[in-house]
């Protein structure tokens, strides 16, 4: 019999576990509970404010933006990730850093930069006008803002997985006679399944939660550029607290569901 010896004394373990639980409950549980309580105490008013103040329209717009962001950055991000992981070219290091910029720079600043570009006298204003597109305070502005802040997720996930799996499976497929298209469809893409899943979830979460950039570029105009998060902001300012609580709870619930869908710990097999 080997003597049983715990790496930490029982008491210390209990204290650490309790502290961690308390921390999480205090930081996440209590505010969420308060939100839930606020909504539950006057559900009728919450529903009526959500409906009458344009909350459903704003939520629908946010979901639409998220879907758009997933489609656009799913395609461009996958291509970008493959390029970043597989190609060696001049300026690659710079690109590598640039991809993460949307995470590092405050979205408000990003929004402002786009306002300068597309606003009166901006470099790209003549181009947009010539194409008959109104960017600022309109849907294109929202799309631009959302796609920009969601840029890194697919690129990062795809590049990470590709660097991890290496090229030998792709090489094996080539020696077996597969064309480059077949290699991509039958070998590379299946390898990326997990990465695309995580990329989708992160992109949706970010698109739903984005505030600063869509506020600056979109202007939070009811019925036109109001999104779920700017709706919360507007409701708070206009003292429609119930509507703000309701929308916040909906967003929190959606995010929680997304987190649930994320693969936990070990990579899921097959």
């Amino acid at each position: 019999m080997t003597p049983r010896r715990r790496t930490t004394p029982r008491g210390v373990g209990l204290v650490v576990t309790a502290a961690a639980l308390l921390w999480v409950v205090g930081l996440v549980g209590v505010p969420l509970g308060a939100l839930l309580f606020a909504v539950a105490s006057e559900p009728a008013r919450v529903v009526s404010e959500l409906v009458e103040q344009g909350g459903l329209d704003a939520l629908g717009r946010s979901v639409g933006l998220a879907v758009f962001a997933v489609l656009v950055s799913g395609v461009t991000g996958t291509i970008g990730g493959i390029v970043l992981a597989r190609q060696r070219f001049w300026g690659r290091a710079a690109l590598d850093v640039a991809v993460d910029l949307p995470l590092a720079v405050s979205p408000v600043i990003v929004g402002l930069a786009f306002v300068i570009l597309y606003g009166r006298g901006g470099w790209l204003e003549p181009l947009a006008t010539a194409m008959g597109v109104k960017v600022l305070f309109a849907t294109p502005g929202l799309l631009l803002a959302t796609v920009f802040v969601c840029l890194p997720f697919f690129v990062r996930e795809v590049a990470l997985v590709l660097e991890e799996v290496g090229t030998s499976e792709e090489d094996a497929a080539r020696t077996l006679g597969a064309s480059e298209w077949q290699v991509f469809m039958w070998v590379t893409l299946p390898q990326l399944r997990g990465a695309l899943r995580v990329g989708t979830l992160l992109t949706v979460a970010r698109a739903l939660g984005e505030f600063g950039a869509v506020l600056v570029l979109g202007g939070a105009i009811e019925g036109r550029t109001q999104t779920a998060t700017t709706f919360v902001h507007t409701m708070m300012e206009e003292r429609h607290d119930a509507g703000a609580f309701g929308m916040s709870l909906i967003l929190a619930a959606m995010t929680a569901l997304l987190v649930q869908a994320l693969p936990t710990g070990a990579r899921t097999k097959h």
């Binding site: 499976e169 094996a172 080539r174 020696t175 070998v187």
Partner: protein
């Protein structure tokens, strides 16, 4: 299908990995590229397969120049050191991949894949996932997958490198039998001399991007052309010394016969195979036994002689008389292989 490579060169960045390798493999022959890691042998193989492009030189398959063809168009089977199985496909789909690519009817492809799996001794495992197999099983799946499109050339890159010694030995015998049945022209890359010598018709020793020697296993073992080859093959002692007035090389406490007449005072380096040393218990001997390791019918004896460390392989019966610390006499049988010492 024969393989011919003419004067291949390849450089990665500043490193010249291959510096003029020429090679010719007859149809149906099995040739090993043997050498230390980083010597460029895998790169030669990848160039033959079209996975890498040579900076200069030519590759011919079956009398056709193929340098302009990509890997997919060369019809060459390739087996990777770390298997490179498609991890998201079941075993049978891995094997059928090359047939699917060739638009073989799915039922037919599956039937042929199952037959190949049975042939490599993995009959019941078709529906498994690659990560449910042992290393040896995975490599046999990889081999079945490479053989499925019936290539006339098979290239194996350290196929048994990641397996343990016992499995390696079994698999290489099995590989040779399979080769004789299938008849594909085969090139095997390995750093394991035993593997190269035991399975191939011909061994090509590669070092630093150059070919050191190209010959039958017997030629490589018995007539090494360079000091490197002599030292690389088998277990050896390397001793340096000076030729004395009687024409014998005095080195490592031994007096060695030297082929031909050599001027007294010449400095030479001798490469002595461990089995060429004779070790006899002798109370007056100058050698001291340090360790005796029993092998099958021989024993490996580590000893010191006048301060130099030597290793010998002697029959087990002779080793019975040898114990750690016992005094021994050491002699070398036959003329030594000697090389001039470059100043």
């Amino acid at each position: 299908m024969g393989i011919v490579a003419k004067n291949l060169h390849k450089q990665f960045g500043e490193t010249r990995v291959i510096r003029g390798v020429s090679l010719s493999v007859e149809p149906g022959e099995m040739v090993s590229l043997l050498g230390p890691s980083g010597g460029g042998k895998s790169t030669v193989l990848r160039i033959l397969a079209g996975l890498e492009r040579a900076d200069a030189g030519e590759v011919w398959l079956d009398g056709q120049r193929v340098d302009h063809l990509d890997a997919a168009s060369r019809g060459v089977g390739f087996v990777f050191q770390h298997y490179a199985l498609f991890r998201h496909m079941r075993v049978v789909d891995n094997v059928a991949f090359g047939l699917k690519v060739r638009k073989v009817n799915p039922d037919e492809a599956r039937r042929r894949a199952e037959a190949l799996l049975a042939r490599v001794g993995l009959g019941g495992l078709s529906e498994r996932w690659p990560d449910e197999l042992s290393g040896g099983q995975r490599q046999r799946v990889a081999l079945a997958r490479a053989l499925a499109p019936a290539p006339r050339v098979l290239l194996l890159d350290e196929p048994f490198g990641a397996l343990d010694a016992r499995v390696r030995a079994d698999l290489r015998e099995w590989l040779r039998r399979l080769h004789d049945e299938v008849g594909a022209t085969t090139v095997l890359v390995t750093h394991d001399q035993e593997e190269a010598l035991s399975v191939s018709d011909r061994v090509v020793l590669v070092r630093d991007g150059l070919i050191e020697q190209d010959g039958s296993p017997a030629e490589i073992v018995d007539s090494p052309r360079t000091e490197f080859v002599a030292r690389f093959v088998g277990e050896v002692n390397v001793v340096e010394g000076v030729v004395d007035a009687e024409g014998l090389l005095v080195a490592g406490g031994l007096r060695l016969r030297v082929p031909g007449a050599v001027k007294a005072g010449t400095r030479l380096r001798a490469v002595l195979r461990s089995h060429e040393l004779q070790v006899l218990a002798d109370p007056a001997g100058r050698g001291v036994v340090r360790r005796v390791v029993p092998l099958d019918d021989r024993a490996r004896v580590e000893l010191t002689l006048d301060g130099a460390s030597l290793v010998a392989r002697v029959p087990r019966a002779e080793a019975q008389a040898l114990h750690v610390g016992s005094a021994v006499g050491v002699a070398s049988q036959g003329p030594a292989r000697v090389w001039a010492i470059e100043a």
